[in-house]
C-alpha cells in the first residue's frame, strides 16, 4: 500500500494553498500506511484541522466543536482493537474542549492526539485562541493579545504517566517519528505541532516563507526525554 491510498480522492481539500496542514496530513498518512494497521479510525472536532478527518480514506468521525476527545474515548472503550487517532486543532482541543483534554490525559486513555497549533481560530477568520502569543494582533485583540499563550506541555506533564511531543510539519521526519512513537505508546499521547496559520498571520505582513523560515531557525530537536524549552522539539514521556 502507498500512503496515497489513505487519501480520500473524491473529497477536495479545502485548506489554503501553502498551509502547513498539507504536510501534517501527508506525514500522518505515511505513518499510518507504514504501520500497516487497517483498524485505524480518525476522529476530529471543528476547525481547519478538524476538516482533516474527512480527507483520510478510513472510517473517520468529524464531531462537534471541542468534542473530538470524548468521541475518540467512546470509540476506543467500545472497541479497544481500534487504533484511534484524534486529528484536530488548538482551538478545539485546548480551548472549547480543554476539559476533555485535562481528564483524558489524567485517565491515561489510550488514544493518540495530533494537535495542530496554528495559534489562532483560523476557520472563523483569525480570532484570538488560547495559543495566541502575548501581544499578537488578531481580529478580537486589535490592540494586541493581553494574555500569555496556554502551556500544553505543562498540562500533559502534570500527570505522572504522560506522553507529550512537540514537533512541526516543517520538521517532517521528526513529526513522523513522534507519531510512530505516540501510536505505539500504551496510554494517552499528545503531539503538539507548531504550524502557524499563514493566512491569518500572513495578512499582518509575513509571507509563508518567512513564517516557516522562522520556525526552522528557532527550533532545535532534542532527544533526552526532559521537559522542553520554548525553542525545543522532542518527546517527553513516562509510563
Amino acid at each position: 500500500m502507498s500512503f496515497q491510498e489513505l487519501i480520500r480522492k473524491e473529497t477536495p481539500i479545502g485548506w489554503c494553498p501553502g498551509c502547513g496542514l498539507y504536510g501534517t496530513f501527508y506525514a500522518a498518512c505515511e505513518v499510518i500506511d507504514e504501520s500497516n494497521n487497517p483498524n485505524t479510525v480518525i476522529v476530529s472536532g471543528i476547525g481547519c484541522t478538524g476538516r482533516g478527518s474527512g480527507y483520510f480514506y478510513l472510517d473517520s468521525v468529524h464531531g462537534l466543536h471541542g468534542r473530538a476527545i470524548p468521541l475518540a474515548v467512546g470509540v476506543k472503550i467500545s472497541n479497544p482493537k481500534l487504533d484511534v487517532i484524534v486529528f484536530s486543532g488548538d482551538g478545539d482541543l485546548l480551548g472549547i474542549g480543554g476539559n476533555h483534554l485535562l481528564h483524558a490525559a489524567r485517565r491515561n486513555d489510550d488514544i493518540t492526539i495530533i494537535c495542530n497549533n496554528n495559534e489562532v481560530f483560523a476557520m472563523t477568520g483569525g480570532q484570538v485562541a488560547p495559543t495566541t502569543r502575548l501581544g499578537s494582533i488578531t481580529t478580537t485583540t486589535p490592540k494586541g493579545n493581553t494574555a500569555e499563550s496556554i502551556n500544553a506541555q505543562a498540562i500533559i506533564l502534570s500527570n505522572k504517566k504522560h506522553f507529550y511531543a512537540r514537533s512541526s510539519p516543517i520538521f517532517k521526519e521528526h513529526f513522523k517519528s513522534c507519531l510512530k512513537e505516540a501510536k505505539n505508546h500504551n496510554g494517552f499521547s499528545f503531539i503538539e505541532l507548531i504550524n502557524p496559520c499563514i493566512t491569518n498571520v500572513g495578512r499582518l505582513g509575513k509571507t509563508p516563507a518567512q513564517i516557516f523560515g522562522e520556525i526552522k531557525e528557532k527550533y532545535k530537536i532534542i532527544n533526552d526525554n526532559r521537559p522542553l524549552e520554548d525553542n525545543e522539539l522532542g518527546i517527553v514521556k513516562n509510563g
Binding site: 473529497t11 474527512g54 473517520s60 464531531g63 467512546g74 467500545s78 481500534l82
Partner: protein, 339 residues
Amino acid sequence: MVNIARLLSGNDAVVEGALAAGLDFFSAYPITPATEIMESIAKTNVKFIQGEDEIAAITMCIGASLAGSKAMTATSGPGFSLKQESIGYAFKIGVPLLIVCCQRVGPSTGMATFGAQGDILQAKHGSHGDYVNIVITPNSVEECYKYTIEAINASEESHSPVILLVDGLIAHMHETVILEGLKSAIKKRSLEPLGSGKRHFTGLTSKGNTPKDKDPLIYREWYNARKKEILDAAKNYEFYEYIQNPNSDTLLVAYGISSRVILSLRNRYSIFRPIRLFPIIEELEGIAKKYHKIVIIEMNDGQYRDEIQSFLKREVRLISQLGGKISLAEIQNELSRID
C-alpha cells in the same frame, strides 16, 4: 420457571430494561434524580465510564455507538440542556442512542430532589435546526423496564437518538413488579461498526462521504429522507392508553406521574395517556372529536398543552401542577371550576 416479584425503583427498572435490550456501553455524569442509574450500571459488565461532564458523557456514547455498542446515557434537566447539541449531532450522523432524562423542578438548578415534567419541549426539540425525535414517557416502574427496551429498539430502528422521559417521582418510586414476559423482541444493530469501512461521519451537510455544505437541494434531500426514516420507524412505537368513560364529555390528558395521580378520576372522565409524547399520537385527533372539553394535567406551565393545542387546532385547558407538588384535591378543585 417461577416469576419472582421484585421491589424496584423506576431507575432500577430502567437499568434492568437496558440490560435486557443488550446495552453494551454507558456513560453519564452524576445528577439527581438520575444518578442511581449510573451507580447500578457501574456494578455490571457493561462498558462504563463516568464522564468528566455531561457533554463528555453523551459524546462518549456517540463514539461508542459508532464503534458498534448499544449505548445509553442518563441525566436530568440541567444535564439534558448541556447534551442538546450532541442530540442534534447524533440525529445528523444517524447514530442509535438512548438518552434517559429523569425530570426535576425548575429552570437552572431548581429543586433537584423534586420531580417534575419540565423537559417536554427540550425533549422534543432542544437542539438547533431541523430534526425530529421519538420521545417516550413511562408512568410506572414496570413501564420503566418495558419502555426502556422499546426506546432502545426504536433508536436502533430509526438510527437516531431516542429520549426516555422519566420524572423524578417515577425514577425514585418503588413498586413491586414481575418483569418476566414484558420484554419485546430485541432489535439488532444494523449500522456497521467503525473500523469496517471507509466512511466519513460528519455533522456537516454532506453527500455520501463528502461534505457539501453550499447546496440547499442536498440539504433538503438529506433532511426529508432522514425525517421519513424516523417517522416510519415511529409507526412501530405508537404507545398510548385511552380509558373511555361513556358518560363524560370531557377528555383528560395526562402522562407520567400525573396520569397515575388522576387515574381515580376515570369514574367521571375519559382519560387519554400518551406514552409516546413525540411524534404526537395521530389517534388523538379522532378521539378528541368525541369530547366538548379537553383538559391536560401536567407538572409544568403548559408545555405539552401548547403542543396538542396546535396539533388539534382547538382549545385545551391546562391544570398546571408546579414546584414538584401534585395533588388530586387541587386537580379536582380546578376541574370543578372548569366544569
